[in-house]
Structures are given as C-alpha cells and as structure tokens.
Symmetry: D2
Subunit: 141 residues, 4 copies
C-alpha cells in the first residue's frame, strides 16, 4: 500500500516557550495541526472537503511522547504519516526531528472520527472518504 | 447613569508565562475574555443572548497597556466596566490590579460591533441591545 | 495506599470553542494543567517547589481520549488522580465529567520526569520528591 | 530615513477560528509576533540579540483594529514597519492585507521597552540598540 506522508518545517515561536525555556507541551497540538493541514492540502483531505460533505471530523484520541525538548530558535521538521484503517476513522502518526542530526524529538498519534451535522457519531465510512481512500490507494477493498 | 462593572480574580497559569518569566502579552486576551464572560453572566449580555437574536458581536478594536508585568503565582484581579455609547457598539474598559497593594498592573479597552448572520455590519442598534440598555439604565433616550 | 485526588470545576471559554462549536482538542492541555496546578496547590507539589529544589519537571508523555465533545456553556468537572510509581516520575490520570448526569466526557494521562538545571534527565528520584511521597503516603519503601 | 519593513504570508489555522467562523481576535497576537520574528531575523533584532545583551524587551502597549474578519482558508499578508523613535523603545506598526484585492483587513501597533535582568525599566537607550539604529539608518544623532 502506498505510504502517504508529508514533511514540513516548524518555526518555534517565542510565545510557545515556557519559563523552563523549552516549548510548552500544549503548544505541540498546533504543530500537529499544521502537519494535518499540510497533509490535507497535499492529498485533498482538508476540513473544507469534510465539511462540504456534511461531516465533522473531531479528534477522539491524541497522544504525544516528548523525547527531547524543543527550544526557541530550533527549526525542526514534522512528518505526518497516514495510517490506513478499516474503521470509519482518520489515523495519523507524527514524528518531529531535528534536521541537523536527524534525531527524534517527538512522536505522536491522532485519531479522528466522523460526526454528522447533529454531532452524532457516524459508524460506517462516509462515501466521500471511501472514495478518497480508493483514489489514494489506501483501500483494502 | 448607573455604572455596570464586575471584578473577578485571575489565576496565572504556568503555560501563560514566557521565557522572560512574565505573562506573555498575548495571554491577556483570555483574561479580558474571562472578564467579559463574567460581566455577561452577571448582567445577562452573553454570547448566547447575542446569538439567539441572530447577531455576532466581534471585536473591532482592542488595546492593552502593560504597566507592570504579571508573574506566575500572582492572583491579580480584573475589573471590567461597561462604557455606555450612542453607537451600535459594546465598549468595555478593563483594569488589572494586584490586590496586595492595589497597584495598577494593566489597563485595556475593547470595542465590539454587531454583525448579522451574513457577517454584514449592523449600523443601527439591535432592538434586543436597546432593551438591554434600558433595563440596566444605560440608555440616554 | 491513600488515593490523592482533586476535583475542580472548569469554565469553557468562547475562544476555546472551534468552528465545529465544540472545544478545540488542543485546549484541553490547559484544563489538565489547571487540574495539576490545583493538585499541586492542595498537596504541595507545585512548580515552585520543584524549581526551588533545582529541577524542572517537563511532560514526556501526554494522552487524551475525547469521549464526548465539550460545548460552550458547559461547566464540567475535572478530577486529577496521582498514580504512585517507583520510577522518578510524576504520573497523573484525569477524568472530565458532566456534573449534570455524571457522564464521562474525557480521560487523560500525563507523565513528567525530572531534569536538572542543565536539562539533563535525572534517573533517580530526587530527595525532595521521595520525602513528598512519604509525607503523603505514596511511598512503598 | 530608510524605511525598514518586512512582509510575510500568514496561514490561518483551523484552531484559530472561533464559533463565529472567523479568526478569534486573540489569535492575532501570534500573527504580529510572527511578523516581529521575521523582522528580527531579516534586520538582526531578535530576542536572542536582546537577551545576549542582558535585556528583556516586553511589550507595554498593544493595539489592534479589526477592519474585516479573517476566515479559515485565507492566506493574508502581514507587513511590519519599524517606527523610529528617540525613546528607549521598539515601536512597530502592522498591516494585514488580503493579497487577492489588496484590501486592508487589520492594523496594529506594538511598543516594547527594555528591562534589565532584574526586571527594572531601562530609561536610556541600550548601547547595542543605539548601534543597531545607526547600522540600519534609524538614528537621528
């Protein structure tokens, strides 16, 4: 199966650094969001497409492992990888690396489900997402 | 004219403190928002009422003067004061004080206008807001 | 072993709600932080104590399961529970519940380690933390 | 006097959009910060230089005028302009424009002062800043 992934460069903002002079752990949610947006833009799976089809795709699971602290002035890279699944979910894994020595700084994972306009969970895979999977070679059927 | 105001206590979060070990200037927007929400709750002028009447009330002007830095561990107080105006606007002024010596830490001001559901600016005062003003003694008519 | 836990009420800010009209997943990091600060205040394990002893306690692992969306206007409660461990770590588990029907909205977990002033990982439990554990009945030795 | 300015493109994040489906007013502080960092990088006036010289440069005045709302999907441009002043201050003005029709979306202004390592306000212009001004043709002396 084709591996869909995208790497972007992050810029650490002064305001993201806390009194320990490292990036505050909560700021990473924005980095992972940036990676998802870049992925959605590259592979046409953005919020707009999901919304146009009448769905929301909220996160239901989110985890991060902070292996080495990020500091102000660093320009790390984040790679987002799409993980194919049979379930009606969008699953991504993330890696943040320091491009200077390719050392692994952070890993993460997010799971999104689909909700309809009434915020009811959608158990079966929406048609537009099934088509997206086929188009990008991520469907097992 | 009756002065409508409300004071609440703020709690400085560790994550709001930057590498200078003072509260990051952008974090104050949340403090002023907390004050507006407390005001809205006390004087029945919350986002819900505005939305129920078919309007948005986005900020169009926002300014803060940082007179003394806030630090982690401080429990300052913020006071929000409603400023009556003839225009179709909601104007608030803010003061953050250190209750230990009543010293003035921060001042601020926000101006909100009304937009209809199509994001068009509403030039005349919405009826529900005119009623609100009368009810709370803020109307000059 | 005595269970150390603390429950506080959360207030959902308008700015924490996203275009899906539910709380943005990244905003929960602040809720969990609020719970840690309340715990630290109640059981004397705050950032200040850790800093006074020459350590940082950055998060190295963070995960959240979003079971039901939080919406603007809700006043949910968050409970933080200290999980005793032999390792030189501070481990907390979290639950956010809707007090109206006690339904479980969110679960989470955070792991903090100790770093010295040079940002080097500390493998053995710092003395002040060992003492803290004994004082609060969390030590197995 | 030479005009020092820098323009960068902004990317609106989904998480920066509020329930009104426009960018939350408090999110602009990050946009202006991005502009300051880009300016500091281009004209060598970053936080690092200031810190190396033993100073902090906190904001003491900050104001924004929101003329037209920013929406998700927009790629506006922000221009930061350095405003020369005799005082021991760093003053910037900002403009956010929609590059599609060059319409003005937002204006802003920030004032920074210098504090020494003990958080005491510095009234006279620090030497390194005086030199910076001369180097970039911003000094009247």
């Amino acid at each position: 199966m084709r591996v869909l992934k995208k790497t972007i460069r992050l810029k650490i903002r002064f305001s993201e650094v806390d009194a320990m002079r490292i990036v505050w752990h909560g700021a990473y949610a924005k980095y992972l969001e940036d990676a998802r947006e870049a992925f959605g833009s590259e592979f046409q799976l953005g919020y707009d497409l999901i919304a146009e089809n009448g769905f929301y795709a909220p996160l239901v699971d989110f985890s991060i492992q902070y292996k080495q602290p990020l500091r102000y002035g660093m320009c790390p890279e984040i790679t987002i990888v799409y993980k194919a699944t049979e379930a009606a979910k969008i699953v991504f894994e993330y890696e943040i690396r320091n491009p200077e020595d390719n050392s692994l700084m952070t890993t993460g994972r997010s799971v999104q489900v689909f909700m309809d306009g009434d915020y009811q969970l959608v158990w079966s895979t929406p048609e537009f997402y099934e088509e997206w999977k086929k188009r990008w070679g991520q469907s097992s059927t």
